[in-house]
């Protein structure tokens, strides 16, 4: 039996109280006020926050997050500058980083895992590190007490999903569609499918992300899933210069919708 980390504990608390989980994604180092944005987002009802550490070659990301990455990197952001800023601030919600494996590999698995702990970060998502390649990283992360969140995609055959769920910590990240990050006009059917398939094989929190871009879509997929990760919709707000309040406003809309307080959604179930 593995101990349950801070990220999973917070998510379970939300779920056990009958609520739906909301994890927004914020690009680290994007704008001078990104730390204020973290605070505003936490206050607006996030259960946990995913902080993106920009990487030069983000193959899982669409134009929105690519642009955010580029802007952040060209303003001088480094993995260490993000971790330093996070260490010096005090947030009431657990944090995860999302970055690509080369950032961890270059620092060294053990050093990177320890640096996360040192900054007060609970979990990590490395989208180019699938189950078979996690061994070295996961050993370092487990030892340091960092929760390694694994992705589960619609393409996975049935027998693969329990293996992913077994190794995942924090939550299980269901990939909502065949494709990269970005807002879509409607929720893909694959989002409901992956949520259903994951819920059938695990008791860990199941969140769906990639292609969940509106409160409506979040509510729809959360009729099955335990909640959502919202990335590009939030980052779009950051890129448009909405500032901490503007971003928090959007997060609050997601929160209200998931809590059933959003106009028109109070009694809405799965159609």
């Amino acid at each position: 039996m593995t101990t349950i980390g801070a990220f999973e504990t917070a998510l379970r608390a939300r779920r056990d109280s009958g609520g739906k989980i909301l994890v927004p994604y914020i690009t680290g180092g994007l704008g001078d006020d990104w730390i204020e944005t973290l605070h505003a987002v936490a206050e607006a009802g996030a259960d946990g926050i995913e902080i993106g550490i920009p990487f030069s070659d983000p193959v899982m990301d669409g134009p929105t997050i690519q642009e955010a990455n580029d802007r952040s990197l060209s303003s001088g952001t480094t993995p260490q500058s993000i971790l330093n800023a996070v260490r010096e601030t005090d947030l009431q919600v657990p944090l995860a980083v999302m970055t690509y494996y080369n950032i961890a590999f270059r620092a060294g698995d053990v050093r990177f895992a320890n640096a996360l702990v040192d900054a007060g970060i609970s979990a990590a998502i490395l989208p180019d590190l699938p189950l078979e390649e996690t061994t070295s990283w996961a050993a370092a992360a487990d030892e340091a007490g960092v929760e390694t969140i694994l992705l589960a995609a619609p393409t996975a055959p049935d027998e693969r999903l329990p293996l992913i769920c077994e190794r995942s910590r924090g939550f299980v990240y269901g990939v909502g569609l065949l494709g990269i990050t970005g807002v879509r006009s409607s929720l893909a059917r694959s989002a409901m499918d992956i949520a259903t398939r994951l819920k059938a094989v695990t008791d860990k929190p199941v969140l769906v992300g990639v292609g969940v871009g509106t409160p409506d879509q979040a509510v729809e997929v959360s009729t099955v899933a335990d909640g959502v990760v919202v990335g590009s919709a939030i980052v779009n707000r950051m890129l448009s210069g909405a500032g901490p309040e503007g971003v928090a406003e959007l997060v609050a809309e997601f929160r209200s919708a998931l809590d059933g307080r959003w106009p028109g959604h109070a009694t809405r179930g799965r159609q």
């Binding site: 070659d57 193959v59 270059r106 180019d128 992913i164």
Partner: protein, 392 residues
């Protein structure tokens, strides 16, 4: 594959490693696709019908075997014996067709109807567009915006062949970014599309599969050299290295001999030369990157070698000391390009002009030896660019 090749350049381990390099570092969405591809490749390669069909295509359509040419005038100028493996004479003008014919046949066998490719110089894109036309498949090719300008002729060829060429607008807007876009497209279209990767890189099984399809270069050259050299082998076998497919193909024919294997990288894209390991585009290998792990942009006159990474098997061959890797500057490449044209009447692609540049610079070290060089492609595509460089 001969037993000797197996000993030095064996099959990768079950987890896709050559020594400590390789692997399958891809988004979860692509893992089942890579597993299916590995299964399909193993089954196809074990099937004589598939191999016969591929051999027939390579012979009757692509024009194999390609000859080995002895270069008397160049040899005289350099002071040693020079043999060229003439991959420039293949249909579409480079070695890329060997791999593409293999992968396109495999795609067909897997029931895929659409080919995705990335391209730098455009030679792999042209080869893939050619295969798509031949097999009646759809084809989409990603190409960096910078390369679209410097390899304009190949863009037109791809269009003529019915392929859609999509500019990669991010990052350095060269080959690295074209690979990113191709991988994103693959993630989105994995169900009906086949990713026809153009070099001995990427996630397992690509580095191994691409090498296997290019082993024909090495095995032909081994026999041809034996005929020319009275049963002997060359002292040195050299090739340019971008992702490393043409080099790995010719090296495979000589890995079990005493021949020295020399890969030549551009100075501005010398991934092996810098010896820093990293993970990008699906595998662990040597990678040009900064101190925190951001991938650096390569700088090379040649679009086909303008890439910060290298295939994992080259990293392994360097690691165990079986091959060595040298680098040359753009200026030396321009000299090498002209040298072959002037002495032998052959205009080389700028990519393989890197190997010529090294051969020319190191003529004292090579004096009295026999050097086999893989002439991976012809230079027609580079003529417009060279007109500008040479100011004519």
């Amino acid at each position: 594959m001969s037993d000797g090749v197996k000993a030095v350049m064996g099959d990768p381990s079950e987890d896709g490693r050559f020594g400590q390099f390789g692997g399958r570092f891809v988004p979860e969405t692509l893992v089942p696709a890579c597993q299916d591809l590995e299964k399909a490749f193993r089954s196809a390669w074990g099937d004589q019908v598939f191999r016969d069909e591929l051999s027939t295509l390579l012979a009757d359509y692509a024009g194999r075997p390609s000859p080995v040419t002895e270069c008397h005038r160049l040899g005289e100028e350099l002071g040693y014996r020079v043999l060229l493996k003439r991959e420039d004479l293949n249909h579409t003008g480079s070695h890329k067709i060997n791999n593409v014919m293999g992968q396109a046949l495999l795609a067909k066998r897997m029931g895929k109807t659409r080919l995705i490719a990335e391209t730098g110089a455009g030679q792999h894109g042209v080869a893939t567009a050619t295969a798509a036309a031949l097999f009646g498949m759809e084809c989409i090719v990603f190409m960096g915006e910078v390369d679209i300008v410097r390899q304009e002729l190949n863009v037109f060829r791809m269009n003529l062949l019915g392929a859609e060429v999509v500019p990669a607008m991010s990052g350095s807007r060269t080959l690295k970014d074209a690979v990113n876009e191709a991988m994103r497209e693959w993630v989105a279209q994995v169900e009906d599309s086949y990713y026809c990767l153009g070099s001995a890189m990427g996630p397992h099984p690509y580095p191994w599969m691409v090498r296997t399809f290019h082993e024909v270069i090495g095995s032909e050259a081994r026999e041809q050299c034996a005929r020319i050299l009275d049963g002997g082998v060359p002292d040195v076998v050299t090739a340019c290295v971008g992702g490393g497919s043409n080099a790995i193909g010719i090296f495979s024919g000589f890995a079990d001999t005493d021949a020295e294997l020399v890969g030549v990288e551009p100075a501005g894209g010398a991934a092996v030369g810098r010896r820093v390991p990293g993970v990008v585009h699906g595998s662990k290998s040597y990678l040009m990157q900064d101190e925190v792990g951001q991938v650096l942009e390569a700088q090379s006159i040649s679009a086909g070698l303008d890439y910060p990474g290298v295939g994992p098997e080259h990293a392994h061959l360097a690691d165990i000391g079986r091959a060595r890797y040298e680098s040359v500057t753009d200026a030396e490449v321009v000299e090498g390009f002209q040298l072959l044209a002037r002495t032998e009447g052959i205009i080389p692609a700028l990519e393989c002009a890197h190997a010529l540049a090294w051969m020319s610079r190191e003529r004292d070290e090579l004096a009295g030896k026999t050097v086999l060089m893989n002439l991976s492609g012809r230079g027609d595509k580079d003529v417009a660019q060279m007109m500008e460089v040479l100011g004519r």
